[in-house]
């Protein structure tokens, strides 16, 4: 349990990732304490998704080391995958396939259990409680995924990840195309998950709506610009370094807000 022993959710050491000749990530090191909420932010093409993919072993890396709860991801691929729940960018989901919201969640549960397994009462109950915990209204459970709103879709994808009871939840751009009310709801239950002992990593281009809930930020632009608390990271110097433009920083209620205009920040 948290508190008994200080644990590290993710430990990245001297990571290099390249696509052919293009060096996407250069000498990245940071370490995410457990349980915590960490945001990975940076401009488009900064390598945010690449970093997440390397942690998930969806891509290989050239050099360095990644450990998830002390396990080397290269040597313990399947154990590490059982520890991580992953919520991909919503645009990556093919929506023309008619799948009901509750079936999206059940599908992941059953695939994890293997081809010959049949859903038990308990599996169904777990699916229901996952959908409840993400605050998806009951009338949406039987709707086709493609008929849901942006926020509801995101909630279904998060429910699908947490039904597998991960210790670490990684979300790639969970707030793009999501209305403000749903953003707040989603961030609210993500914070509750942290209280239950689940670490959260959020890849985002817009830090402002969630900055109050975040313990650490990794500011990235192919290299690590900064890693630390929002107060430490969200400085004019760091943000200008990451975005290559002058950035306004507003301090309000102890939190820093970066004004980066229309550019993906």
């Amino acid at each position: 349990m948290p508190g008994l022993r200080s644990e590290t959710a993710v430990d990245v050491r001297n990571l290099y990732v390249s696509y052919g000749d293009y060096l996407a990530l250069e000498n990245i090191s940071f370490s995410v304490p457990h349980p915590s909420v960490t945001a990975i932010m940076g401009p488009n093409g900064a390598g945010k998704t690449t970093l997440v993919r390397a942690i998930l072993r969806l891509i290989d890396f050239d050099e360095g080391e990644i450990k998830v709860f002390g396990l080397d991801v290269r040597e313990n691929e399947s154990e590490v995958r059982n520890l991580i729940g992953y919520v991909p960018q919503r645009e990556r989901v093919r929506e023309h396939i008619p799948v009901r919201a509750k079936d999206v969640v059940l599908l992941a549960k059953m695939v994890r259990l293997g081809p010959l397994s049949l859903p038990t009462k308990r599996d169904i109950e777990e699916v229901k409680s996952a959908l409840k915990s993400v605050l998806l209204p009951r009338e949406a459970w039987n709707k086709k995924f493609s008929d849901l709103s942006g926020g509801q879709k995101q909630k279904v994808l998060i429910a699908r990840a947490i039904v597998l009871k991960p210790k670490l939840l990684i979300l790639d751009e969970p707030f793009s195309g999501v209305d403000t009310v749903s953003q707040r709801e989603i961030m609210g239950f993500l914070s509750k998950l942290k209280d239950k002992g689940i670490s959260i990593i959020i890849v985002t281009h817009d830090i402002n709506p969630i900055v109050e809930h975040i313990d650490n930020i990794l500011l990235l632009n192919r290299r690590k610009i900064a890693f630390g608390t929002p107060q430490e990271v969200l400085t004019k110097e760091n943000l200008s370094k990451a975005y290559g433009i002058s950035v306004k920083v507003i301090v309000h209620g102890g939190a820093c807000y970066a004004i980066i205009g229309d550019r993906h920040a």
Binding site: R92, V93, A108, V111
Partner: protein, 273 residues
């Protein structure tokens, strides 16, 4: 009307329609989910080239007794695996180009081989147009084996296939060996294409494999309903086509194809209404 069932060719045609419908529902749905319907057209022409090559090898006594269906199976599987191999190294847009190129090559080879077998070209003609009413017991046995394998494996790995189609990256993060499932589906698609090639002919493989599932996909509320509706549409097209063909003395596969496309147009109108 019922004494028509004493005719073994009619009975075999009926069994073939049922088999084709099951295969078309299983593979057609997954092909629609994966948005790879162009692949089916490509593989169908690959199968035709293989069949024509087999007839050629038999004709010139290079490989006597080589059955066209064996040739079609080998060629379509090779083609599916080649497409899979090259497309796993590129983007999805890349896959369209690869299918396009293999499609053209297969079609050119098909025409080349057909032109080389001259008087036996009528045999190849049967594979282009389909010979639902001329199936032998051996043909039927082959269709039963291939259809059973296909339907069994699709049912067994149905959830995995649907999850990969829905969200490939999520499936990989769950630990699924996506590449393995991709190859399995490609090979099953190739085998199904051969089943349909024998029944409805190369030109109509696409229609009978894709259209019922495409129509079902427009109406169904969930993925398994797509398969059930696709099965229903295939059976209706097949049987109505067969009955009309007997009454009107026309090609059953052509009529089945027309009925399937009509069903698709009706579903479009229902969806728009």
């Amino acid at each position: 009307m019922l004494e028509i069932l004493n005719n073994p060719f009619i009975v075999r045609a009926i069994i073939a329609i049922v088999l084709i419908s099951f295969v078309s529902s299983a593979i057609g749905s997954l092909t629609i989910f994966r948005e790879q319907s162009f692949l089916v057209a490509g593989i169908a022409h690959g199968a035709l080239a293989g069949a024509a090559l087999a007839i050629f090898l038999d004709y010139y006594r290079i490989l006597p007794e080589m059955s066209p269906i064996a040739g079609a199976t080998v060629f379509s599987v090779i083609m599916a695996v080649t497409v899979g191999f090259f497309s796993s190294r590129g983007s999805e847009a890349h896959m369209d180009v690869i299918i396009g190129i293999t499609f053209s090559m297969a079609m050119s080879l098909a025409i080349l081989f057909v032109s080389m077998i001259r008087e036996y070209a009528v045999q190849a003609w049967g594979l282009i147009m389909g010979d639902l009413l001329l199936l032998t017991s051996m043909d039927l046995l082959f269709l039963i084996i291939i259809s059973s394998i296909t339907v069994f494996l699709v049912t067994l790995f149905y959830r995995e296939f649907v999850l990969i189609a829905f969200d490939e990256e999520g499936a990989r993060a769950l630990g699924l060996k996506v590449l393995l499932y991709d190859y399995l589906l490609l090979i099953l698609t190739a085998l199904s294409t051969v089943v349909l090639l024998k029944g409805v002919g190369a030109i109509l493989v696409y229609v009978m494999l894709i259209i019922p599932a495409a129509a079902a996909n427009k109406l169904a509320k969930n993925a398994s309903n797509v398969m059930i509706l696709a099965l229903l549409f295939s059976l209706i097209s097949g049987f109505l086509g067969l009955i009309l063909a007997i009454i009107l003395d026309l090609a059953p596969s052509a009529l089945a194809g027309l009925i399937a496309t009509t069903i698709y147009v009706i579903t479009l109108m229902i969806k728009r209404a």
